[in-house]
């Protein structure tokens, strides 16, 4: 056996090795093919040429913009046309409880320690509007001794370090390179962690679609060179939107020419909606 074994064993080894080689090629190909999904992601980072063209659309390159939003509360008249426009633009359920943007009213009444806060979803205001589908502030403080009162528009802050993105288990919400926090409705599983995580209450759950939803700064408009719907309709320029990479854009001037502040800076989310003319009670 041992004598004769040498030759066949060599052949056997060759055969074995060639089989092994073929097997390795096959598995390699299979794994490689399977891994294609992952591989380009890794390889994409090294050659920037192909991808750098223009993303997400051919006319709009997100690496060339960095969006931010300004709110001048001293100008807001509480007409709620922004809320109305947003509902239309973004197919937000037409009820008085789910909003991508909303307006709050802060009223200090003589002799009261706490500030009174209401928004368009307050029952008194719903009654004044006549329907849950229309929005209006009731003139409820006309006979009160008001020391100070003002309106504050609110919306998603599109934070630089968004808590909502951190908690999303499926990667359905993310921050784009141009600074907008978006939701991928196809990947959202409706777990509502993000609704809970947002310190600003900017997100709501859309029961009809079974997904979380929130302000996108009208990403479909701004990528086409339009203003967000709420900015477009605001009659008093209380809302300002623009590109911080353009030093002469409305938002750059707004931030430069005003003393601006953000809501809940201590939360560490680094919001990108900048406010002028609000009190410490606003957060």
């Amino acid at each position: 056996m041992s004598k004769q074994d040498t030759k066949p064993s060599l052949e056997a080894r060759r055969e074995f090795l060639s089989k092994l080689g073929r097997a390795a090629t096959c598995t390699g190909a299979a794994v490689g093919a399977a891994a294609l999904g992952v591989m380009p992601a890794v390889s994409a980072k090294s050659p920037p040429s192909a991808e750098a063209d223009s993303f997400p659309t051919k006319d709009y390159d997100w690496t060339k913009h960095q969006w931010a939003f300004g709110v001048d509360a001293t100008k807001c008249i509480g007409c709620l046309r922004c809320v109305e426009a947003c509902k239309h633009e973004n197919d937000v359920p037409r009820n008085a409880h789910q909003f991508r943007t909303w307006v709050e009213r802060y009223v200090h009444i003589e002799g009261e320690d706490a500030v009174r806060i209401d928004s368009q979803q307050d029952p008194v205001n719903i009654e004044a509007s006549g329907s849950e589908k229309e929005f209006r502030f009731a003139n409820r403080y006309k006979d009160a001794k008001v020391e100070k009162a003002f309106f504050v528009p609110k919306l998603c802050n599109h934070c630089t370090h968004p808590a909502c993105v951190q908690v999303c288990p499926t990667g359905a919400t993310y921050r784009t390179k141009d600074g907008v926090v978006l939701i991928d409705h196809d990947y959202c599983i409706g777990c509502r962690y993000c609704v809970q995580a947002c310190p600003y209450g900017a997100r709501y759950f859309n029961e009809e679609k079974g997904v979380s939803d929130k302000c996108t700064w009208c990403y479909h408009r701004i990528t086409k060179g339009l203003q967000p719907a709420c900015v477009e309709v605001c009659p008093v320029d209380a809302r300002v939107f623009g590109d911080t990479k353009d030093k002469e854009s409305p938002i750059s001037l707004f931030i430069r020419n005003n003393r601006v502040q953000v809501l809940r800076p201590e939360s560490g989310n680094a919001p990108n909606v900048f406010y002028v003319g609000i009190d410490k009670e606003v957060n």
Partner: protein, 325 residues
């Protein structure tokens, strides 16, 4: 190696292989392209069609309206704020023209705690008495600015020319007849405007048209200056027609232009205080019937009944015109 450990390890290895193959197959191709999300969702979101179309879109067909609007104080209120989103218009039909302007306009203009002082605001009840805003205001150019015609006439020259008018309007501008208006103390700019309207044919009257056509522009200026300089009549007291108390309530709707007691705030509009009640009734009926043309007066007189008109006339006739000038 014990058999059961081997089995366990091979099971784990098997799972790992399945997972290694399944994960890339089930993960969207664009998922890790920029990070832990599906990159393709970005162009998907960006591809949504805008619903609000902006005023430039409207301008394409409604250029004249756009021009009027963009020159007005309302230029910051875009078309779609009042008319709704223009997506699908005109293909899918017309956009609404708001009917309830008293509700719509007050969204911004109702005097309310918290609104900045720079915002034009009105106490709705006192300002219009619940009347629709569009009756007096053109929403596309809301500011009511009756052009104040400058009156440069010479009152003395006007006095001579006025001899021809005195048969009807009285030597001192106080008419002897209930159906002809007093002119004494009337706003000169208003008189100029009306005389010019008779002269041009914009306003017609059997007696006034030929008389006014004989006047030169200087005559009109002089006459207006003359009548404006005269002492306005004393109120005739109780009027035979109408109920002045009922008229007072109605007159709130007229106060924005004609003053609370009929003394106009703007010289281009007539003072009504102490005017002949019969004349006021005739004029209001003429506005209502469209015989006298004025877009604003046509609107406000449309809803008045004959009794309302009589009451208003009675109220204004009783007012004193002496409080100013």
């Amino acid at each position: 190696m014990p058999k059961h450990i081997f089995r366990l390890l091979s099971l784990i290895a098997g799972f790992l292989v399945v997972a290694m193959i399944a994960i890339p197959l089930l993960t969207d191709k664009s998922f890790y392209r920029f990070g832990h999300y599906r990159a393709d969702s970005v162009p998907e979101i960006a591809a949504q069609e805008p619903v609000l179309q902006t005023a430039n879109y409207c301008k394409g067909c409604h250029a004249a309206r756009h021009a009027q609007w963009s020159a007005s104080n309302h230029k910051s209120v875009t078309c779609e704020v009042c008319h709704g989103a223009a997506k699908g218009h005109p293909q899918n039909g017309k956009l609404p023209i708001p009917k309830d302007t008293a509700k719509l306009c007050t969204l911004c203009h109702e005097a309310m705690t918290g609104r900045p002082k720079t915002q034009p605001q009105v106490q709705v009840a006192q300002h219009s008495g619940g009347q629709q805003c569009a009756v007096c205001h053109n929403p596309h150019s809301p500011k009511i600015a009756a052009a104040t015609t400058k009156v440069t006439g010479n009152a003395a020259a006007g006095k001579q020319r006025a001899a021809a008018c005195s048969a009807c309007h009285g030597a001192d501008g106080i008419s002897p007849n209930d159906t002809w208006p007093n002119l004494a103390g009337q706003n000169a700019a208003y008189l100029v405007r009306i005389l010019a309207a008779y002269k041009s044919g914009d306003q017609k009257d059997v007696a006034m048209t030929p008389l006014a056509q004989a006047l030169g522009n200087a005559d009109i200026q002089n006459l207006a200056a003359h009548y404006a300089s005269l002492d306005c009549p004393t109120a005739p007291g109780k009027s035979a027609i109408g109920n002045a108390v009922a008229g007072k309530a109605l007159a709130k709707n007229c106060a924005a232009c004609h003053g609370e007691t009929g003394i106009a705030g703007n010289p281009a509009w007539p003072t009504l205080a102490a005017q002949k009640p019969g004349y006021l009734v005739n004029v209001l009926k003429a506005f209502k019937a469209g015989l006298r043309k004025d877009p604003m007066m046509a609107g406000v007189s449309r809803g008045l009944s004959d009794a309302d008109i009589a009451n208003l006339a009675a109220f204004y006739a009783e007012q004193s015109c002496k409080t100013t000038k």
